[in-house]
Symmetry: C2
Subunit: 101 residues, 2 copies
């Protein structure tokens, strides 16, 4: 079962970026979920920041988004669920390959 | 030079999704730029919708986000620039490989 990071409009993008980097180093895969534009903004900024944190680890990140329905206090909301995938970087920064994701 | 789709908060995500699908079919690569949470929300929803449009074409999409500074009416703004990358799908939907991106 993949770890799921729930990002809200109040989430600090640098804190979420640190969580993404940590889980990607250990497990190589993580999922994020955001409901609403402000939360999604924090989530995407966090992945962008985490790419920098992981540069020295020799891999990059890619996002695969999908819609998912979630129930919040009895109401159906459409969330964006994002799979965060690892892509190995070849020397010089050229793309080597993407780990299955 | 890659095509750049500038997404605003007023952009219709289905229209942007159609543009993404068309360019990806023809060129296999496109970039999107969004400034602000509402515009980014439309951009990410558009990629999510475009993934569905391209399913029958046998490939999926992944997003690689980065920050970029843009000048809007003389003011510096931080935009999110997103590279939209093609990943080939193997039979059964398993990931085959990612086209260099």
């Amino acid at each position: 079962m993949a770890e799921l990071i729930r990002v809200s409009s109040q989430s600090r993008s640098t804190a979420v970026a640190g969580a993404i980097a940590g889980i990607m180093r250990e497990q190589g895969y993580v999922e994020m979920q955001a409901i609403g534009a402000s939360a999604l903004n924090q989530a995407i900024k966090a992945v962008t920041i985490a790419r920098g944190y992981l540069r020295d680890d020799g891999f990059d990140l890619m996002i695969v988004p999908e819609f998912t329905e979630v129930e919040i206090e009895g109401a159906e909301r459409t969330a964006i669920r994002m799979a965060i995938c690892k892509r190995a970087m070849a020397a010089g920064g050229a793309v080597a390959a993407t780990v299955a994701c």
